[in-house]
Structures are given as structure tokens and as C-alpha cells.
């Protein structure tokens, strides 16, 4: 067994590990803010730590985190998916309309499948039509959102299946929602793709230098098609969990999910320049946003402060990440996209 770990592999793994440590220093912002806010909550809102409350926060964080995990991989490849907001509504609506009375797991599968199909539409427009992902998914954001509103006539579709309701409501050990376990599985799969499959190397290559990736023979069309299908499928999954949480599906049920997911990815320490990213950072940031929104309610301030808090977190996390990684003081950080 140890023969498999010959010296070359070990050296390569160690080298990889070092580069990861260097690049992933950006997570600092998310860590520091998480710790500060936890201390703050411990002092001023001790009921934050009730099992019921933690369950709710974990659930919010998971719904954001599942979509944001997909967005992390996309941003690592230098792409965006703005249409996730619309897919969050449309995929569960289609699933409930087609299979509302069928067994729960089937509803979830159809929602994931619908998300994947919508993602494939994005992917085909981008790869076959040669359109930049940002604007292509901006177009499908309008289009998918409109389709969702049209097929439901703007009304809510109610959930009958107890299985779907349990996705967000059910808990393990009275604390952890199933949605969080799903998030862990999703992250494990994304990690496998990124670190253990060829696809992960292609994704990072495409994100750091797309011309070089093209010249070195990577099938970029396949990579981006895969990415958008994956992002769509994950969004379909997050959408059906949110639907279970709200016990009904509306086309506009996740307003600003796209921007929130991008915010989580960025606060987590993934650079918008592409090439590298951190799933753990994204999950930390999703938890941070959910915790702050919940904490503000517990402290008893007006819920409108949430919007201010979101912006402040974004700025603080990035500034902290930059200062800690030394990027702020280096001249190399002057490129701003």
C-alpha cells in the first residue's frame, strides 16, 4: 500500500499543499469576522446558541451555501451565473407541478434535473453561441424568471410531500438540519471534482488563463457546459430545500440569490480573477451572513439593518483578507478585475 506513495507523489502533494496554504490565506477575513461576531453574540445575545436557533441559522446558511458552492467553482473558472435567482424559483415550481403528488425523493430529483436542464441551456448559449457567461446568464435570468411567473400565473405552488418539508425542517440530534448534511455532501462532491478529477485541473486552468488552457488542448466547451449544468443542478437542489422551508414555491422566492451567492464566494476569499478558490471559505461566509441576519433580529434592531450589515461584511472581509495576505501593500494587486 505504501508503495503507491512513492517519493514523487509525496513531493508533488506537499508542493500542492504549500501552494494551497499560500493562496488560501484569503480566508482570513471570513474567519476573523466569524470569531468577532460569535464573541459579540455570546455576550449580547446568548439565546443565539439555543438548539432551535442554531438549526434555523444552519438551514439558512445551507440554502445559500449549496448555490454558493456551485458559484465558487464557476468563479474559479472565471465565469458567473446570474440566472440562479430565477432557477431557484423555476426548478421547484416545475418539479411540484409535474410531480407534486409523487413520492418526495422524485420531486427532489426532478427539481435537480430541471435545474440541470436550465443550466444546460445556459451552457449551450455560452459555449455554442460564444457569449460571455455574465451577459448570457443575465439574459436567461430575465427569461427563466419570466417563465416561472407565467406558468404559475404569479401564484404560489404548495408542497404536499412531507419528505420535501422535512429537508429543511427535519433535524439530526435536535440540532443539525438535513439541509446542512446535504451541503456537506455537495461540498465533498465539489472538492472531489476540484482536487481529485481532471475536470478540477481544467477548471482552474481555464480560470487562471483561458488562452493557455485553450492552447494546451483542454476542451473548454465541455468544461463550461459541465460547470453550468452543475451550477443549475445545485441551484435546483437549493431551490427545492427553500421551497420545503417556505412550504410553497413562488417564482420570486429567492430575490438577489445570485448576488448573495457571489457575495458569499467573495467574502469566503475566492478571487473574482479566477483560477483558485476555497469551498470552506464560501461555507464560512454563508454561515457568517446567516448568523449576522439572525443575530441582528435577536439583538432586537430593525431588520433593515441587515442590508447595511451585508455591505459592511463584504467590505470588511475583503479589506481584512487583503491586508493579511499582504496584497494590499503589493503593487501587483492593482489589477482590479
Amino acid at each position: 500500500m505504501s508503495s503507491a506513495l512513492d517519493n514523487g507523489v509525496v513531493a508533488e502533494t506537499l508542493a500542492q499543499f504549500r501552494t494551497h496554504i499560500r493562496i488560501r490565506g484569503d480566508r482570513t477575513g471570513a474567519w476573523i469576522l466569524n470569531i468577532i461576531i460569535l464573541i459579540f453574540l455570546f455576550c449580547w445575545a446568548p439565546n443565539f446558541f439555543n438548539a432551535g436557533n442554531i438549526h434555523a441559522v444552519l438551514n439558512d446558511a445551507s440554502i445559500l451555501g449549496i448555490g454558493a458552492a456551485g458559484m465558487t467553482i464557476l468563479i474559479m473558472a472565471g465565469a458567473f451565473d446570474l440566472s440562479v435567482t430565477a432557477i431557484m424559483g423555476l426548478a421547484p415550481i416545475v418539479a411540484l407541478l409535474l410531480a407534486g403528488n409523487l413520492p418526495g425523493p422524485l420531486i427532489v430529483l426532478i427539481s435537480i434535473f430541471t435545474g440541470a436542464v436550465l443550466g444546460a441551456i445556459n451552457g449551450i448559449i455560452i459555449t455554442r453561441g460564444n457569449v460571455a457567461p455574465f451577459v448570457a446568464t443575465l439574459g436567461t435570468l430575465f427569461a427563466f424568471g419570466s417563465i416561472g411567473a407565467v406558468i404559475t400565473d404569479g401564484n404560489a405552488v404548495y408542497v404536499q410531500s412531507p419528505f420535501v418539508l422535512e429537508l429543511a425542517g427535519g433535524k439530526v440530534w435536535g440540532l443539525i438540519p438535513y439541509s446542512f448534511l446535504i451541503l456537506l455532501v455537495v461540498c465533498a462532491m465539489c472538492w472531489l471534482i476540484l482536487r481529485r478529477l481532471h475536470m478540477g485541473r481544467w477548471i482552474r486552468a481555464a480560470g487562471s488563463n483561458i488562452r493557455a488552457a485553450h492552447v494546451s488542448g483542454i476542451d473548454l466547451q465541455w468544461v463550461y457546459l459541465f460547470l453550468f449544468v452543475a451550477s443549475g443542478a445545485l441551484t435546483g437542489l437549493a431551490g427545492i430545500i427553500l421551497t420545503g422551508y417556505l412550504s410553497s414555491a413562488v417564482a420570486t422566492q429567492a430575490p438577489n440569490y445570485n448576488l448573495n451567492a457571489i457575495a458569499a464566494v467573495v467574502v469566503g476569499g475566492t478571487s473574482l480573477r479566477g483560477g483558485e478558490g476555497t469551498l470552506l471559505g464560501t461555507v464560512l461566509a454563508a454561515w457568517l451572513f446567516a448568523m449576522v441576519n439572525n443575530g441582528l433580529i435577536l439583538v432586537g434592531v430593525n431588520s433593515y439593518w441587515q442590508y447595511l450589515a451585508t455591505g459592511v461584511i463584504l467590505v470588511l472581509a475583503l479589506a481584512l483578507g487583503m491586508v493579511s495576505s499582504g496584497n494590499y501593500f503589493s503593487t501587483r494587486a492593482q489589477s482590479r478585475d
Binding site: L138, S146, A149, V150, I262, A263, A309, D337
Partner: protein
């Protein structure tokens, strides 16, 4: 002449605009009535004003996601000042200054904290919206000043809506700034290649400050016009306007890659969007289809453009 027009970058939006007008006129001949055309002009003027600011930003290879929130914030500050009987000219000046100040804050987040514009304005999008809600407590501020709404939907010489006059003035100013001044050339230079521009001695921070402040002022102007049209202002003014503005700019033929800005295309695309909305309304189609039609036009325009370019670089993707 026609050939030159077809090969220009605004060709897609002009063709789509003409096509949409013809289709809706055939569907319902009420499309070309005076009332409907005026509605289109007012609505297109407002989105063109936001879009022109966004065109400059995108030409600099940046994005401003906060314009929607700036629209709402300036509309609310204007409406609040009006409800305290402040003179109209002063109200307009203050609201525009507020927009400019918010744009200036954006630019300083980018310059001083070195945040990418996307992230900096994503943060201010959220913060300004929070500010709007805290100021109004979620309520709607009614505007009772009749003079104010006339400034938007009233007509100059009884013919041209004032909104169109304002938009024309804004277009002229932005055109002159972008095409005829060193500042405008610097915007395009920074968008084309930031390092080269900085190396050539362009003051990148000053240009960034100027462009974002200008975009903030223009967004504030559009917000004031929306409030004048609605006769009230609340935090829903401008929600989602940033993405619509980006879509308008892109349909107008400006690439997100930066370096170039197509001001005429942006205005055409604003008219296209407004015509689609008005046309669906007149054809008795639910407004729920608006997104499908506009999203479809956006994708088709981009794919037509992408396929034209794709012949040259097969397999390479634009990301």
C-alpha cells in the same frame, strides 16, 4: 450608408428596435399612437440616462451594481425634501449631489481599499438600500408638488416630453465627455489595458473617481425622474435597475471587455426595452412575458454577435 450602418456595433440594437416596432404595429395599430409613443419616450429616457452612465463604467472595464440603489436613495431624499416645502431647484441639486456623493464613495472603496468594482458596488448596493429603508421605515413618501411631475411628463412646446429633453442633454454631455475630452479617452484607455494606461501616466484613480461620480449623478437624475413620474418614492424605486442597465448597455453593443463604449447603441437598446414593454401591454400580453422577450432579445443579439466572432476563434470562449 446602409452597409455602414449594418456593420456598425449598434446594428443589432437598431435592427431589433425597428423589427419590434414593425411587429407591434402589425399586431395592433394603436402602437403608433401619440400617447403610447410618449410613454415609450419617457420610459426609454429614464433607462437611457442610467444606461449612459453604465456605458462609461463598462467602457472602463468596471461594473456599478449600486445604480439601482442610488436611484432609490436620491428619489427618496428628493421626495422627503419636497414634503418639507424646500424649493424645487434646491431639491434637485441636493438629490443629484447625494447621487454624486454615493458614486464618489464607490470610487473611494475601489481606489483606497482596492476592492474590485463588482464587489465594492455590490456592498454599496446593499448598504444604500438599507439606508433607504431606515430613512423611510419602509413607507412610501408621497410627492404633492405638481410642478415636479410636469418636469418629467410635461411637454416642451406641447410636443416633446421633458424627459426626452433631459435625456438628450445628458446624451450630449456624455457624448462630448467621452469622445471629445482627454478624460473620455482615458476611460477607454483604462478599459482597454489598465496597466498600459497607468504606465502611460494616466491618473487611474482620478478617472475612476470621475466616472463613478458621474454615474452616481446620472442614476440620481433617473431616480428623480421615476419619482416624478410615479408621484411618490419608496425603497422599491430602482430595485433591479442595475442589471437592466447592464443588459441595455450590452444589447447596445458595448462589450463587457471594456475599452469601448457605444453611446448610441445604449440609447437604442433603452428604446428597444421600452417598446417591448409598451408593445406587450398594448397587445394585451401579461407583463410577465416582458422578461422572456427582453431576455430572448438579449441572448439572440449576443449569439448573433458571438457567432460572427466565433468563426475566427473556434473553441476559444469569451469569459
Amino acid at each position: 450608408m446602409l452597409k455602414k450602418l449594418l456593420s456598425s456595433e449598434s446594428a443589432a440594437s437598431i435592427i431589433a428596435l425597428v423589427g419590434v416596432v414593425i411587429v407591434f404595429t402589425l399586431i395592433n395599430n394603436r402602437f403608433l399612437t401619440r400617447l403610447n409613443i410618449e410613454g415609450i419616450i419617457v420610459s426609454a429616457s429614464i433607462s437611457a440616462i442610467v444606461g449612459l452612465g453604465m456605458t462609461l463604467i463598462i467602457a472602463m472595464r468596471a461594473l456599478d451594481l449600486s445604480v439601482g440603489s442610488i436611484m432609490g436613495f436620491s428619489a427618496i431624499s428628493g421626495a422627503l425634501l419636497l414634503s418639507h416645502d424646500v424649493p424645487l431647484a434646491f431639491v434637485v441639486a441636493v438629490a443629484l449631489a447625494v447621487g454624486g456623493a454615493l458614486g464618489f464613495i464607490n470610487s473611494q472603496l475601489i481606489n483606497l481599499l482596492r476592492l474590485p468594482s463588482f464587489v465594492a458596488t455590490l456592498a454599496t448596493l446593499s448598504m444604500i438600500l438599507g439606508g433607504e429603508l431606515l430613512i423611510t421605515d419602509g413607507a412610501t413618501v408621497t410627492i404633492r408638488n405638481s410642478m415636479y411631475s410636469k418636469l418629467v411628463i410635461g411637454r416642451l412646446f406641447g410636443v416633446v416630453p421633458w424627459a426626452a429633453v433631459i435625456a438628450a442633454v445628458v446624451f450630449a454631455i456624455v457624448w462630448i465627455v467621452f469622445h471629445w475630452t482627454p478624460f473620455g479617452r482615458h476611460i477607454a484607455a483604462i478599459g482597454g489595458d489598465l496597466r498600459a494606461a497607468a504606465g502611460a501616466g494616466i491618473n487611474v484613480k482620478a478617472v475612476t473617481m470621475g466616472v463613478f461620480t458621474l454615474a452616481g449623478v446620472l442614476a440620481a437624475l433617473a431616480g428623480l425622474m421615476v419619482a416624478g413620474m410615479l408621484q411618490n418614492a419608496d425603497s422599491t424605486v430602482g430595485v433591479g435597475a442595475e442589471l437592466t442597465a447592464i443588459a441595455v448597455v450590452v444589447v447596445g453593443g458595448t462589450s463587457l471587455m471594456g475599452g469601448r463604449g457605444n453611446l448610441i447603441g445604449t440609447v437604442c437598446a433603452a428604446f428597444l426595452l421600452a417598446s417591448v414593454k409598451a408593445g406587450l401591454n398594448i397587445a394585451n400580453v401579461s407583463s410577465k412575458y416582458e422578461g422572456l422577450v427582453f431576455g430572448g432579445i438579449l441572448i439572440i443579439a449576443l449569439m448573433a454577435d458571438g457567432l460572427r466572432r466565433g468563426a475566427r476563434r473556434k473553441g476559444m470562449l469569451v469569459v
